[in-house]
C-alpha cells in the first residue's frame, strides 16, 4: 500500500504532500525533511528504493524535482517507480507552465490516480477527464 506521495525540490522544500496513512500534522514536516535528506544524499548509481524505518521509499528525480513515494512492504517497487513516471507524464500533458500555481489541480490529478493508498486509474485520458470537464465548465 502507498503511504504517502511527496514532491520536493532540491532545496528540500515540499511542493506537494499527500498522506494515505494518518500522520500527525506536526510530525509531517520532520518526516518530510528526513525522507528528503535520505533521497537527496543518494547518487545516480544507487538504487531508487530505500529502506526507511519499517517501510520503503521509491523515488525518482526530474531535474530539480524529486518525487518520493512511501510504500509498505510488499508493494511492487518497479510498478510504483513507473507510476511516478506516469504521474509526471500526466502533469506534462496537462500543464504548460510551473505547476506550483496550480496545486489544486495537481491534487486532483493525484486523486484520480491514487486513492486511499491504492492505484485506482492509470489511463492518462481518464485521469485528466475531470479536469477537462472543469475547464470546459469554466465556472470561475
Amino acid at each position: 500500500m502507498i503511504r504517502f506521495v511527496l514532491m520536493v525540490n532540491r532545496q528540500g522544500q515540499t511542493r506537494l504532500s499527500r498522506y494515505y496513512t494518518p500522520v500527525d500534522l506536526n510530525r509531517r514536516a520532520a518526516l518530510e525533511a528526513d525522507v528528503v535528506r535520505c533521497c537527496l544524499n543518494r547518487k545516480k548509481d544507487q538504487c531508487s528504493f530505500v529502506e526507511y524505518q519499517d517501510f520503503k521509499l521509491v523515488y525518482r528525480q526530474y531535474a530539480a524535482l524529486y518525487i518520493v513515494v512511501g510504500v509498505s512492504d510488499g508493494e511492487n517497487e518497479l510498478s510504483i517507480y513507473e507510476l511516478v513516471h506516469n504521474f509526471v507524464e500526466v502533469l506534462d500533458k496537462y500543464f504548460s507552465r510551473v505547476i506550483m500555481f496550480n496545486l489544486d489541480r495537481v491534487h486532483i490529478i493525484l486523486d484520480e490516480m491514487i486513492q486511499n493508498g491504492h492505484i485506482v486509474e492509470t489511463n492518462k485520458n481518464r485521469i485528466l477527464a475531470p479536469l477537462s470537464a472543469i475547464d470546459k465548465m469554466a465556472d470561475g
Partner: protein
C-alpha cells in the same frame, strides 16, 4: 492544452504564491505568511458575508500555507461552507481542505456528513466522486456509521458511472479497514467479486484493491475471485500491445493491473481446478518468455513496466512453491538481472532470489550464482544493495558452501557499514553454528567475529559460544588455547575478555600444562584486562578468579591478595563488593572438597532453539526467517550440541547456581537458554528472567516487596523463555483466548512494532497479571496508553495499578500490573486497548486478555469413592455439559496431563476404572460463591476423538468450561 487559469484565475492567490517564491530568506517567508494569515482571519471574522469565490480563494491560500509546513488552526468552518456550493471548484477546494486538514475526530464531522449525503444523492458523478474521496480520506467511525451501508449499493449498481464505481471501491476499502464491523459484505460478495469481469479496466484496477483486502480477511468467501482473476490476467497477458489502448504503457499492456492481479492470487494457494491452474501456468510462462524477447522499445519505462510484472509473477511462483520448472526458470531470469547495469534490477533480483533460496526446488539453482553475489557484496556502491547481497548469501548458505560464505561475510564485516553490522554479526554467528562440521572452525569464527566487530557482538552471540563449548568436551581444550592466544593482543574487545574469562575459568586447566600458559600466566593475562572493563565484565572475571582457586590451588594466594585489596573489597559497586567479599571468604574457610563441589564445572546446557536465531527473528520480525531454515537449525543445532537429552542435568545446575553466584549467574540471563527450574531463587528474579533486557521496567524489587508474589506457588513453567514460546504461539489461527487457557505466561501479541508478554498468577478469586510491552523498533512510541474494559456482563473486576509511562523508547520494554478480582463467573474475556503513536501514525490495538474462568480454580484432591458420589450429586441435566470432538493436538499422555494441570484442577489418579481416562476436580473461587467442578476426559486414540464431560454446581460454568476446553485438546 487547456489554458489553465482560464475563468478561474484566483489572482490574489497567484500574487501571494509569487511573493512567497520570491522571498529571499526563511524569515521573510514567515513574515509574509503571517501577514497573509492576519488578512484572512480578519476577512473571515468581518461582518460582510464573503461570496463563494473569496471563500475559495482564502481557503486555498490557507491550504498553500499549510503545505509549506505551517500550522493552520482556522478556516475549517469556511471550508465546510464551500461543500454546499454548486460550483465544482469551490466544492472541490472545500473537500480538499477537509481531506488534508480535518482529523477524523473533528466536531465538524456532522456538518461534513450532511454535505456528503447531499452529494451522494445528487446523481452528479463528479460530485459523488468528491464525496466518496472525502469519506475515504477521513474514514472516521461516524462517517462509516453514516455511509457504510450505502456505498456497496453504489459500487454494484448497474447505472453507476465507472469513475464513481472506482471511488466507491476504494472508499469501501477504507471503511472496511477502519470499521470492519460496520461493513457487511454478505449479500454483496458475489457482485463485488464479479467486478473483476467489469469491462472497464479502471474499475477492475480499483476493485482489486478492495477484493484483495477482503480476501485476506475472509479467504473462503472470496475464493471465486481466483478463477476470475486468472482469466482476466490471461486476457491481458496474451493481448497484443495495442489492444488495451490507453491502458498500455510503453507497449506493455496494463502493467499495474497485471501486478495487482498477480498479487491478489498470492492470497490463495494454487488453484485446485486443473483448467484454471493450467491457464495460470500458461500466463506465468508467457510472462517469463516475454522477459527473453527483444524489447519493443528502448525506453527504460518499457523494461521497467515489463519487469514489474515479471517480479510479481516470480513472487507468485515462489508463493506457490510447487512448480519446479517455473521456479528454476525464475531463478535463471533473476540470475541474468544480477549483472544488469540497472541498480534497481540488481537490487530487486537479489531480494527476490533470497526467497527463492528457501525453496527446495530452486535452492541448488540459486547456489550457482554464489560468485556473482559475493562479487556484489564487494563491489556494489549502494549499501542497500550490499545488504541484499549479504541476505542472499545467508539464505543460500548450506553445508557445502558455509566455509566460503562465512569467510566472505567476515571479511566484508571489516569494512561493512555500521548500520548493518549487528545483523551481519548475528548472521555469521548463526551460519557458523548451523554448519559447523568441526568445532575448532566454529570457535575460530566466533572469536574472529568478536575481534573484528566486537562492538556489534550482542550478548546472545557470546552466550551461545560458551554454551556450545560447555556442551562439547572435544572443543574445550581448543577453545581455551584459542581464547588464551586472542587475549594476548594488547587491545582486545571487552566481549573477548568475557568469553576468555568464562572459558579459562572453566577449562583453563586444559592448557595449564604448557608453561607458556601456566595458571599464573593465565591469571595475570586476565587480570591485566580487569581495570579496563565495565562492571558486569569485572563481576564475571571475579567469578573466573574463584574458579581459578579451585582449578589451581597454587594461584590461591595471589588471587586472595587481589580480592582482598581495597579496590575490590570496598568497591563502590555493590555487586563487585559482594562478590569480592564472598569469594574471599569462601576461598579461606571452605575445605577443598566443599570448594570443588561449589565450583564444579558447569553442567551442559539444555538444548533449546539458538538464542541468536531468536534474536535475528525478533530483529526481522516474524516470517523473515524461512521455514526450512528453522527446521534446519533445529536439526543441526541438536547435532552440534550432542543431541540434547541433558535436561536431567538442569537440577544439578540450578543447585550450583543457588549456592553461589558463580559465573552461571551471568548466563542464566540468556533468554532462550535459561534452564527450566533454574530461576526460582526468588520470586522477584523471575520477572527479570522473563526478558533479560528488561529496559526501564519497573524494578522487580518493587514487585516482590509486597509479598503477594512470594506467597504464590511457583507457576509450572516459570523461566521458560517468552521469546521462544512466542515463535510458536503467534499462530494467528489460534485465538489468544485459547492459547492461554492452560498456561499463564507467554507472548500475548506480537507484530512488527510491538511485543506484549504476559505473566500472571492467580490465588483463590484474586489474580495479578504483569504485562510487558516491548518496543521492537528503534523509534520511540509516544502517547502510549492502555485501558482495560470488561465487555458484556461486567463480572470480573479489574484494576490497572497505575498508568504506564507515555513514552516507550526504541528497544525498551515497560511493565504494567493488573489486579484482577473475580466477582462471579463470567464468559467474556476483558479487553485490553493499547494506543500509541509510532512515527506519527496512531496505532490502536484491542486484544482479549487471557483471563478465563478456569484461572480461579483451586485443585481438590479426592478419592475415587468421593468423586463418584459427587458426580452423582451433580446429576441434573443442566449441570452437565458434554462435547465429543476431534483431537486438534497431540494425544500424548504427558502433554494431556500438563494441559490438565495447567488448567488449575487436581488431576486424580486411580479414580476412573479406565486408566486411559482423565479425571479432574477443582473449585472455582469467585467473590460471590464457590463453584465445584468435576471433569472427565475420555480419549479415543484410534478415532483421534475425545469425549469431554463437565459437571459443575453452576450450569453456566459447565457450559463455559466445556467451550474453553474443547479447543485445547
Amino acid at each position: 492544452m487547456p489554458a489553465v487559469s482560464k475563468g478561474d484565475g484566483m489572482r490574489g492567490l497567484a500574487v501571494f504564491i509569487s511573493d512567497i517564491r520570491n522571498c529571499k530568506s526563511k524569515e521573510a517567508e514567515i513574515k509574509r505568511i503571517n501577514k497573509e494569515l492576519a488578512n484572512i482571519r480578519s476577512k473571515f471574522k468581518g461582518d460582510k458575508a464573503l461570496d463563494g469565490y473569496s471563500k475559495k480563494k482564502y481557503v486555498c491560500k490557507l491550504l498553500f500555507i499549510f503545505l509549506l509546513g505551517h500550522d493552520i488552526d482556522f478556516g475549517h468552518m469556511e471550508a465546510v461552507n464551500l461543500l454546499s456550493s454548486n460550483k465544482y471548484t469551490e466544492k472541490q477546494i472545500g473537500y480538499l481542505f477537509i481531506s488534508v486538514l480535518v482529523n477524523s475526530n473533528s466536531e465538524l464531522i456532522r456538518l461534513i456528513n450532511n454535505a456528503i449525503k447531499n452529494d451522494l444523492s445528487s446523481r452528479n458523478p463528479t460530485f459523488m466522486c468528491l464525496a466518496l474521496h472525502c469519506i475515504a480520506n477521513v474514514g472516521s467511525r461516524e462517517m462509516a456509521e453514516a455511509f457504510a451501508s450505502e456505498i456497496p449499493r453504489i459500487l454494484v449498481a448497474g447505472d453507476t458511472m465507472d469513475s464513481v464505481k472506482q471511488s466507491a471501491a476504494l472508499c469501501l476499502l477504507r471503511l472496511y479497514k477502519t470499521s470492519p464491523d460496520l461493513v457487511l459484505m454478505g449479500e454483496w460478495t458475489s457482485r463485488v467479486v464479479h467486478l473483476l469481469n467489469d469491462q472497464h479496466m479502471g474499475v477492475v484496477t480499483a476493485a482489486i484493491s478492495l477484493i484483495t483486502c477482503l480476501s485476506m480477511k475472509n479467504p473462503d468467501e472470496f475464493k471465486t475471485c481466483v478463477s476470475l482473476a486468472v482469466s482476466r490476467l490471461s486476457r491481458i497477458v496474451s493481448s497484443a500491445s495495442t489492444d488495451l489502448q490507453d491502458y498500455t504503457y510503453y507497449f506493455v499492456p496494463a502493467p499495474w493491473l497485471s501486478c495487482k492481479l498477480l498479487r491478489l492470487l498470492q492470497c490463495y494457494p494454487p488453484p485446485e481446478d486443473g483448467a484454471v491452474k493450467g491457464r495460470l501456468v500458461e500466463c506465468l510462462e508467457t510472462i517469463l518468455n516475454k522477459a527473453q524477447e527483444p524489447p519493443k522499445s528502448k525506453k527504460v519505462q518499457h523494461s521497467n513496466a515489463k519487469n514489474a510484472i515479471l517480479f510479481e509473477a516470480i513472487s507468485l511462483i515462489i508463493h506457490y512453491d510447487s512448480e519446479p520448472n517455473l521456479l528454476v526458470r525464475a531463478c535463471n531470469q533473476l540470475g541474468q538481472f544480477l549483472q544488469h547495469r540497472e541498480t534497481n534490477l540488481r537490487y530487486l533480483a537479489l531480494e527476490s532470489m533470497c526467497t527463492l533460496a528457501s525453496s527446495e526446488f530452486s535452492h541448488e539453482a540459486v547456489k550457482t550464482h554464489i560468485e556473482t553475489v559475493i562479487n556484489a557484496l564487494k563491489t556494489e556502491r549502494d549499501v542497500s544493495v550490499r545488504q541484499r547481497a549479504a541476505d542472499l548469501l545467508y539464505a543460500m548458505c548450506d553445508r557445502s558452501n558455509a566455509k566460503q560464505i562465512v569467510a566472505e561475510m567476515l571479511s566484508y564485516l571489516e569494512t561493512a557499514d555500521y548500520s548493518i553490522r549487528e545483523e551481519m554479526v548475528l548472521k555469521v554467528a548463526i551460519l557458523a553454528e548451523k554448519y559447523a562440521v568441526d568445532y575448532s572452525w566454529y570457535v575460530d569464527t566466533i572469536l574472529n567475529l568478536i575481534r573484528i566487530a566486537g562492538d556489534y557482538v550482542s550478548e546472545e552471540v557470546w552466550y551461545r559460544v560458551i554454551q556450545i563449548v560447555i556442551n562439547r568436551d572435544d572443543v574445550q581444550g581448543y577453545a581455551a588455547k584459542t581464547v588464551f592466544e586472542a587475549l594476548q593482543a594488547p587491545a582486545c574487545h571487552e566481549n573477548m575478555v568475557k568469553v576468555g574469562g568464562y572459558i579459562l575459568g572453566e577449562f583453563g586447566n586444559l592448557i595449564a600444562g604448557d608453561p607458556r600458559s601456566s595458571p599464573l600466566v593465565q591469571f595475570n593475562l586476565l587480570h591485566s584486562k580487569f581495570h579496563l572493563c565495565s562492571v558486569p565484565t569485572r563481576a564475571l572475571l571475579l567469578s573466573a578468579y574463584i574458579k581459578f582457586i579451585n582449578l589451581f590451588p597454587e594461584t590461591k594466594a595471589t588471587i586472595q591478595e587481589v580480592l582482598r585489596c581495597d579496590s575490590q573489597i570496598r568497591n563502590s559497586d555493590v555487586e563487585l563488593q559482594q562478590r569480592a567479599v564472598e569469594y574471599l571468604k569462601l576461598s579461606s574457610i571452605a575445605s577443598t572438597d566443599v570448594l570443588a563441589t561449589v565450583l564444579e564445572e558447569m553442567p551442559p546446557f539444555p538444548e533449546r532453539e539458538s538464542s541468536i536465531l531468536a534474536k535475528l527473528k525478533k530483529k526481522k520480525g516474524p516470517g523473515a526467517v524461512s521455514v526450512t531454515e528453522l527446521e534446519d537449525s533445529k536439526r543441526e543445532g541438536g547435532e552440534l550440541n550432542g543431541g540434547g537429552d541433558r535436561g536431567s542435568d538442569t537440577a544439578a545446575m540450578a543447585a550450583s547456581n543457588a549456592s553461589t553466584p558463580s559465573p552461571s549467574a551471568d548466563l542464566l540471563g540468556i533468554r532462550s537458554a535459561a534452564p527450566i527450574g533454574a530461576a526460582p531463587a526468588s520470586a522477584g528474579s523471575l520477572l527479570v528472567d522473563v526478558f533479560s533486557e528488561a529496559g526501564p521496567a519497573a524494578p522487580s524489587a518493587a514487585v516482590s516487596d509486597d509479598g503477594f508474589l512470594r506467597d504464590l506457588e511457583q507457576p509450572t513453567e516459570t523461566s521458560d523463555s517468552l521469546l521462544v514460546e512466542g515463535s510458536g504461539d503467534s499462530d494467528p489461527k489460534f485465538p489468544v483466548s485459547h492459547r492461554f487457557v492452560c498456561k499463564n505466561n507467554g507472548v500475548l501479541f506480537e507484530n512488527q512494532l510491538l511485543q506484549i508478554g504476559i505473566k500472571s498468577e492467580y490465588r483463590q478469586n484474586l489474580g495479578r497479571m504483569y504485562l510487558f510491552f516491548g518496543n521492537k523498533t528503534s523509534v520511540q512510541f509516544a502517547s502510549f496508553t492502555t485501558t482495560v474494559s470488561c465487555p458484556g456482563e461486567l463480572q470480573s473486576h479489574i484494576l490497572l495499578t497505575k498508568p504506564v509511562e507515555p513514552l516507550v523508547e526504541g528497544g525498551a520494554q515497560i511493565q504494567q500490573v493488573l489486579n484482577i478480582e473475580c466477582l462471579t463467573d463470567f464468559s467474556e474475556a476483558p479487553l485490553l486497548n493499547i494506543k500509541f503513536r509510532y512515527g506519527g501514525a496512531l496505532q490502536n490495538l484491542t486484544l482479549k486478555l487471557p483471563v478465563t474462568i478456569n484461572k480461579f480454580f483451586q485443585p481438590t484432591e479426592m478419592a475415587s469413592h468421593d468423586f463418584f458420589q459427587r458426580w452423582k450429586q451433580l446429576s441434573q441435566p443442566q449441570q452437565e455439559a458434554q462435547k465429543i470432538f476431534k483431537a486438534n493436538h497431540s494425544m500424548d499422555t504427558e502433554v494431556l496431563k500438563a494441559k490438565l494441570l495447567g488448567l488449575g484442577t487436581a488431576l486424580l489418579d486411580n479414580v476412573d476404572p479406565n486408566p486411559e481416562n482423565y479425571v479432574c476436580a477443582g473449585v472455582i473461587q469467585t467473590k460471590s460463591q464457590q463453584v465445584g467442578c468435576l471433569l472427565r476426559l475420555e480419549p479415543n486414540a484410534q478415532a483421534q476423538m475425545y469425549r469431554l464431560t463437565l459437571r459443575c454446581s453452576k450450569d453456566s460454568v459447565s457450559k463455559r468450561l466445556c467451550e474453553l476446553l474443547a479447543e485445547q485438546f
